[in-house]
Symmetry: C3
Subunit: 332 residues, 3 copies
């Protein structure tokens, strides 16, 4: 493995191999596997799980890591090619990232979408500009439209608790006080399709995922024997669901238009997952969310504190999943 | 030892055992004692000594640690049960803390008082809410009304320099430009009482420690053969003192009332420890403070730079004291 | 070696020995050389390379490090002697730094110039106040007028690529949107002189380096058989140059006067290094900069992305150079 940028770069079998390696590392620790290896972590955006679990993953494998946070302790970094840098950013990623890469054995980068121009973000313009100047194994810690570490952990979680491959997986939009990125829903719809599930994207009008994202997921579904469709009809979507995966994201019809997005969601406060969402699901339907989650806005306490929720297991699985990725990238 | 939350959870003998272990680790290092062990550190509030000494303690025992700082690098975390999270906090501690605990072998949390409602803070409402969702050994890195790591280091310091068990220990209020928490004075009055000292709390009117705090200290004193009283008469309090322990704290009669507190302290600028405070103390009287301290506001340069000050030794003792705590919590 | 504060504390031979050690550590790793050693790093100012490369240097030598950032995660620290601390700073360096030093085996401190009074900064008043209370090996991570780690890496870089000892080294002022410190130009002019080069400082009127800095460099040049002069004539300065080392710095005639500095540089936008600066240089002329650099303000893309640029090599050399310093300070 050269990089870990997108789960779509790996076949179903390769993903299942990674998950098997993650499980093996849980039961058979390898505390020297990455001895003397160093991981650099660059966070352009805040983090809790990714920030801690990658550091811990290196510790558990005998390696080390360091963290750089542009804007906090380090100045801001410019991403645009050709920029005349007379603004806030004191350094360009074309200098900063190769330097950091030269200090370590692998680099992880988190850089969210700019959220202004949908096509710019769909093209992963900023992340690609950064990846192009890094000559070490690179890990996507969440980019404009992807979060492969989350998807790998989520897939592992579903394997563990026995969610059938062909089960109905409902990715449902939920509300949030602000516009949030489409990275996790984009990664998630693809992950579930790649796993071969019956995927339904449930979202109100104005929040459809971009055709590029849906097409990529449909291609994965076709290869895996599953399906992908979208709807705004909640009852129909949830009927028989084996998994409800909730996620907040911004309007795609009003991308970059904060006021327009706010107007759209003004009447969508009932897009908060409550126990009654499970009335007609499969009896054993599980509740998933990548976290962080705003309680009683996006998801009610009763769901997060209830027995259907497997959000803690998803979050914990970030650790072994990433240990497997690091092992593949760096172990001899 | 399951947790380290309050020095009151340990008998005098257990505290002395911890101090003996701390000394042993100073003279007989155990650089592999916590090999492969990982400590998570969560700082809701700023830190210098705690932040550095816990990381170093793990390094010296062969383990590792990571740091999470809600509000810096990580988003803010909500603590209140039932909160409708449409404000600044992006995640609830009910999600965030169990996740972090699942990545490590022990967790330390610093979370100061809210400083609005005295009874809410006296009940350690926020810290208890957090502790209830952590299933790993938990260390209190300073909570609303406690700072057991500081107290353990202070006790060790007094043992080392030979402050007699029955010596007079004066905990004196000193001034500060702003309202500050009652955690350290509350922990300190108990610690000195628990050690069996003659404890006097010297403070101006309006700054009496809450009855709950004083009663807890009196119970400890009764068990240890010491005493606890309070006064606003400085000359009488300081006469014969073996230790002056200075600390800033906010008004308890005007708790949560910044303007009222400020009015009270407007005329208290002379509550700044100077050399003349030692005129009638024991000849060998020592000066203690937990740091950070505002020079020439709370304590004069002449005292901090003078030979009576043992603040550096207290601060350094944070390291071996915490190494002992970690050893008890995590070594096989 | 007791401390690493100024390259001027070391003879040419001692610097060359350090560089030889750096090379040896590159080709013959010593992953246990600093086992159990702990480095404390205190950053009063932002950093990218220094922050990451010192952590990595300790990892590669088997040691550990911790980072303290006053103002972020830790409160602000006061430096002035005798200060009445009723402002923003909660702790004085006279308390904070000895505490941190007591936790570790060596301490590194970054503390830029105040930028108000030139003589105060030239005297390294703040850094000396801090150094005076640290009783462990101390490393200057960039102070008011020095950056010895950068200079050591730059010297190593010139050795590696075969820049002749007597080559013409042009330190050229370049523009920047704001006032920046004189630490790197001051360190660089001395470093090149100390190496025995023909040093020319090229800068517009109002930006001459202080006589104290130039005299120190001239003394080093005299000892090493080189020379140091200054000019504002770009064509004459660049003719035959073997190295153009670009750096931004603030006006010295208007030190501490932001508006005066801005007025001076209003017409200096052409002090941005472009390919045509190399028209009459030595054919093999290299381009150096310590980074961070503002693209298309201080240096054009065409230069930074061109074959003359060795800025990446300089930046990478921070790592082995600092490994050598740490090895000398801490290895048995």
């Amino acid at each position: 493995m050269k990089n870990f940028l997108d789960l779509a770069d790996f076949s179903r079998e390769e993903v299942l191999d990674l998950i098997a390696l993650a499980r093996r590392l849980e039961t058979h620790p390898e505390p020297q596997a990455l001895a003397r290896k160093i991981l650099g972590l660059v966070f352009f955006n805040p983090s809790l799980r990714t920030l801690s679990s990658f550091q811990v993953a290196m510790m558990k494998l005998g390696g080390s890591s360091f963290v750089i946070t542009p804007g906090q302790g380090t100045w801001q970094l410019e991403t645009k090619l050709g920029a005349v840098m007379n603004g806030a950013a004191a350094e360009h990623v074309r200098e900063g990232l190769p330097v950091l890469a030269s200090y370590c054995d692998a680099l992880g980068i988190r850089a969210f979408a700019e959220g202004k121009d949908l096509h710019y973000d769909l093209a992963e313009t900023n992340f690609r500009a950064m990846a192009s100047v890094v000559d070490k194994p690179l890990i996507n810690l969440e980019s404009a439209i992807n979060h492969p570490c989350q998807s790998l952990a989520d897939w592992k979680t579903m394997e563990e608790i026995g969610v059938p491959q062909r089960a109905k997986f409902v990715l449902s939009w939920v509300t949030h006080p602000r516009v949030t990125p489409i990275a996790v829903p984009s990664a998630t719809v693809h992950m579930a399709a790649h796993r071969g599930m019956e995927v339904v994207v449930l979202r109100p009008e104005g929040f459809a995922l971009p055709p590029e994202i849906m097409d990529k997921a449909r291609a994965a579904a076709a290869a895996a024997g599953g399906s992908v469709r979208e709807t705004s009809q909640r009852d129909e979507a949830l009927a028989g669901a084996h998994v409800i995966y909730a996620k907040e994201w911004g309007s795609t019809t009003h991308y970059g238009d904060t006021a327009g997005d706010a107007a759209l969601r003004a009447n969508l406060a009932d897009w908060c997952v409550r126990d009654d969402w499970f009335a007609n699901t499969h009896a054993d339907c599980k509740f998933m969310h990548c976290l962080p989650v705003r309680r009683n806005v996006a998801v009610a306490d009763e769901v997060l504190d209830g027995s259907r929720s497997i959000v803690q297991r998803e979050a914990h699985n970030r650790l072994p999943a990433q240990m497997a990725v690091l092992h593949r990238l760096l172990a001899r």
